[in-house]
């Protein structure tokens, strides 16, 4: 898994690619946590390049979501691919996470 961070207006965009699983989820969670700790609580996760997530990936996303919302922000996901969407849906995460078809829509949803 690889991730990169960029700023789009007042939104922090984390682009993720590869597999978010038991071997990589900690790294992704650390990336998100560092942003939140630095005050960047309006987060968009671009999952357009993520082909798979396991339970560890779900835990990382949920932990980030809780942290961001506790600090007054949110984690919103963009461009979720079908295989990942199915796992999110099966685990009920689509009911608590805000998903958008692309990065632009996710960023704009913050009023940026």
């Amino acid at each position: 898994m690889e991730s990169s961070v960029e700023q789009v207006g007042n939104v922090t965009l984390v682009r993720v690619s590869g597999s978010v699983d038991g071997l990589t989820a900690d790294s992704l969670q650390t990336t998100f946590r560092e942003q939140v700790d630095a005050g960047a609580v309006r987060l968009v996760g671009d999952l357009g390049g993520v082909e798979y997530t396991s339970s560890a990936g779900l835990r990382a996303l949920l932990a980030t979501l809780k942290l961001a919302r506790q600090r007054g922000g949110d984690l919103r996901l963009a461009a979720v691919q079908p295989a990942v969407f199915r796992v999110l849906e099966l685990s009920g995460f689509t009911t608590i996470l805000k998903l958008f078809p692309d990065v632009d829509a996710a960023v704009k949803s913050f009023g940026a």
Binding site: D21, L23, S54, A56, R86, E89, L90, G92
Partner: protein, 282 residues
């Protein structure tokens, strides 16, 4: 450390045959299972694998188990008892379909076999009719366990095991990864399915299937979310993708279902191998 890999096969009728494709992929890559857990339709395959049947035999048995014949005979007395409970002495257990044909089909692979015969530890999930509790069957008759686990509400009568009346495991735990967690699994391969909806609801039996699928699917999502967050190690969802509708009795689609199960598993094999290597090195 000794890592334990569990396979959990959830409810999902004919779709559960995808587990045979998963098994084929695991065998090809030499990945051994420490336990198999099955619920409802998944219990059919969990039990076949645990009993050591080869893949070809499993596929043949699938065709024999999933036939329209198993739902073709109405349980006339049961239906009359439901409508006229006093006259026909409704006994608190009900199924619209007579279980004679199903019992005959199950007797082939599971008759006379016990959990002690299993080459891989096996756990089968059912639901207690009296109190709704999930029941995990790990000893005794495999026939009884499977018959109880697939006792779809309103369709087949519950089944008595050790004095308890049990019904379909999908009522309490459609994808029982928690059983594998409790049994000490480090890595859980979770093959789950949303239960299919009948193409047309044109009979009371189909209506029962429809209603069962609705609440089973909602329960599946709720439980799976909780289990994903509760497990300390890793749950690897293996979710075959079907490009066509797989109905309740789409037995003609079984080879395709198996193939998709194999494909979905193959996609996770590289990660699974890396994960197991990491766990072995700890």
């Amino acid at each position: 450390m000794t890592r334990r890999v569990a396979l959990v096969i959830g409810a999902g009728s004919v779709k559960c045959a995808a587990a045979l494709g998963l098994w084929r992929a695991l065998n090809r890559h030499g990945i051994e299972l420490s336990m198999v857990v099955g619920c409802s339709g998944g219990s059919l395959y969990a039990a076949l694998m645990a009993l050591g049947y080869d893949l070809e035999t499993c596929e043949r048995m699938t065709r024999q188990l999933w036939t329209r014949e198993v739902t073709s005979e109405r349980n006339t007395r049961g239906i009359l008892a439901a409508i006229f409970p006093r006259l026909f002495r409704f006994d608190g257990k009900f199924g619209m379909v007579h279980d004679r044909a199903m019992g005959k089909a199950l007797a082939g692979p599971y008759g006379g076999r016990t959990f002690a015969d299993a080459t891989i530890p096996l756990h089968v999930v059912a639901t207690d009719l009296e109190n709704g509790q999930r029941v995990v069957l790990s000893e005794g008759s495999i026939f009884d366990a499977v018959r109880a686990s697939i006792a779809i509400p309103y369709v087949w009568r519950p089944w008595q095991v050790n004095g308890r009346w049990l019904m379909d495991g999908c009522m309490s735990d459609p994808l029982p990864v928690d059983v594998a967690m409790r049994e000490g699994a480090d890595v859980i391969l979770a093959m789950g399915f949303e239960s299919p909806y009948p193409r047309k609801v044109k009979s009371a039996t189909r209506y029962a299937f429809q209603v069962n699928s609705i609440y089973t699917n909602n329960l599946l999502r709720a439980n799976f979310a909780f289990h994903n967050l509760a497990h300390h190690a890793e749950i690897i969802p293996i979710l075959p993708e079907f490009d066509r509708q797989i109905g309740l009795f789409s037995t003609d689609q079984i080879p395709y279902v198996i193939e998709e199960g194999e494909r979905a598993t193959e996609a996770q094999i590289p990660y699974l191998k890396r994960l197991l290597a990491e766990l072995d090195a700890r």
